[in-house]
């Protein structure tokens, strides 16, 4: 089998996978945050990522090096997330989850279309010019921009987790996630917490998107795969399991790269969505043995 006969191919896939997976993990962490705190599945997650990417791309188009786009992407999406929460999302927070799925889905469609109208439907990248290094006698290529993304993702994740532990807002968020009613009684402004949580998630997506723009490619319609990836990661790892989310993100990245080598890049998206179904069915069948079901 090709996997066994080509150790370098394996290593390449693994490295590429971990590096793209770190971005998935960042986005997944954001989704877990919103899901855990507000019980909302943000279907617009992927669109926030791509939009963040386009912001960085715009910076790049202005002649500035794209890494300076990162703070802009984060900030823009942070503010947008906050605004969208205050206008739309707050209305569906306490309703049936399907309502919030549809509402965020509506938002995702609108963002998709705006991106299409403003940036066009060709594939774009924000070139960093970081170059590549070659290892093992040119058998492994390591695009330095991917390494950069990996490092930034990890730092970003650690920063947010630290923020959650230390800061006042972070603690308010965690309290609200555990018991919103108790938090309210203790004086926490839960609406504010929700708004900032949603904004932080959007910001994280924006940052991730910035990395995507530099490392991979942008297109108005590739948001949904990011949403689905983060959803998969969260359900594999479980909502409260932060190290699990990060690990699963890396794992999914690796799995995707391997599958791309095996069955071809053109099946990547089909693979992701099929994997989602397979994981869900497998999980539910396993739980059914205990006469339970996925909640």
């Amino acid at each position: 089998m090709i996997l066994i006969q080509a150790p370098f191919l394996n290593l390449q896939a693994l490295l590429d996978g971990l590096m793209v997976g770190s971005i998935f993990a960042l986005v997944a962490y954001g989704m877990a945050l919103v899901w855990g705190v507000m019980n909302i599945i943000n279907v617009a997650q992927g669109e926030y990522v791509i939009l963040g990417g386009y912001i960085t791309f715009a910076v790049y188009k202005l002649g500035i090096h794209p890494i300076y786009g990162m703070p802009f992407s984060f900030l823009f999406l942070f503010i947008l997330g906050y605004i969208l929460y205050r206008i739309i999302v707050f209305r569906v927070v306490d309703k049936d989850m399907f309502i919030s799925i549809l509402a965020t889905f509506g938002i995702s469609i609108m963002i998709q279309q705006f991106m299409n109208m403003i940036f066009g439907s060709q594939v774009e990248t924000a070139l960093t010019g970081f170059g590549t290094i070659f290892l093992f006698d040119h058998n492994i290529t390591l695009a330095l921009v991917k390494v950069f993304s990996f490092v930034v993702s990890i730092i970003g994740a650690i920063a947010v987790i630290y923020f959650m532990k230390i800061s006042k807002l972070g603690r308010a968020i965690r309290a609200t996630a555990q018991n919103a009613r108790a938090a309210r009684i203790l004086g926490v402004d839960t609406e504010k917490v929700y708004a900032y949580t949603y904004a932080i998630n959007a910001g994280l997506c924006g940052l991730a998107g910035s990395l995507v723009a530099m490392t991979y490619t942008l297109h108005p319609y590739i948001g949904l795969p990011y949403t689905v990836r983060s959803f998969m990661i969260v359900i594999i790892a479980g909502l409260g399991n932060i190290p699990g989310v990060l690990a699963s993100g890396l794992g999914l990245g690796a799995l995707e790269e391997f599958s791309a080598y095996l069955i071809g890049q053109e099946f990547r998206i089909g693979f992701i969505f099929s994997l989602l179904v397979i994981i869900l069915v497998y999980r539910s069948k396993k739980l059914a043995k205990k006469r339970e079901y996925l909640k």
Partner: protein
């Protein structure tokens, strides 16, 4: 008199928690039996174990000689065993009458799914609803009933399903104290007139003493004592379990 239900050495662990440990009991057909014990002693878990809500870790459960422990939840009511819930479960958006009509026992034939509900069902439903005192409220949405009224509806729905044995989880909890005598009366009537065996979890000692022919007492997941009401009332272990329980 045969044993309609036989529970032998049933254990159920949730991780490290021993919710049910080596529980054995048997219930004579046609009797009224109570299950008492302080909160957290594993009574509802035992109910869940019997009707298949979760699989059991050890032991056997036989209803009329048939082994229940490997069956799925929906396979058990057709055998004649039904349970009601501590936190009421009813079809909230549908009217009480609808709740009743769907609860009618039907054959397992695939094509029966497409039968229209017969008119006679209405009469039967109304009869049982009056029996439990809910006739006036029969057209209201079930979700609009109070907690206690929902308990009555659950009882009525269970009766609609022609059970041989009913397992009731705290049937008088949340019921207006003035109605409790009426409930006791109804339960005794169900048992006498329709020969339905009753297995009841109860915290209200007055109800237990007036209703039960036999009592099982659990504590800390184990079976503590069982016997006639007079024996249990004076059993030191039972008294300690309630007083000492936190």
């Amino acid at each position: 008199m045969t044993n309609i239900l036989e529970v032998k050495n049933v254990s159920k662990f949730f991780g490290g928690v021993r919710a049910n440990e080596d529980i054995s009991l048997s219930i004579k057909q046609g009797s009224i039996v109570a299950l008492i014990g302080p909160n957290g002693s594993g009574k509802t878990t035992l109910f869940n174990s019997i009707v298949g809500t979760h699989p059991i870790d050890t032991g056997s459960i036989k209803f009329e000689g048939k082994e229940l422990s490997k069956m799925l939840v929906h396979e058990i009511p057709p055998l004649g065993l039904l349970r009601t819930f501590q936190q009421t479960k009813i079809y909230g958006q549908m009217s009480c009458m609808m709740n009743m009509k769907i609860s009618k026992k039907v054959s397992n034939n695939y094509f029966k799914m497409f039968d229209t509900l017969p008119k006679e069902l209405d009469d039967e439903a109304e009869l049982i609803l009056s029996f439990v005192g809910l006739y006036e409220k029969r057209n209201l949405r079930a979700g609009e009933l109070s907690f206690g009224q929902q308990k009555l509806l659950e009882l009525a729905m269970a009766l609609m399903n022609e059970p041989k044995m009913l397992m009731l989880d705290e049937p008088t909890a949340g019921i207006n104290p003035t109605l409790i005598n009426g409930i006791i009366n109804r339960l005794i009537k169900i048992n006498e007139k329709y020969n339905i065996t009753l297995f009841v979890i109860e915290h209200n000692m007055r109800v237990v003493m007036n209703l039960a022919e036999h009592i099982f007492c659990m504590a800390h997941g184990k079976m503590l004592a069982d016997g006639k009401p007079e024996e249990i009332k004076n059993d030191k272990r039972v008294i300690d379990a309630y007083l000492g329980a936190h």
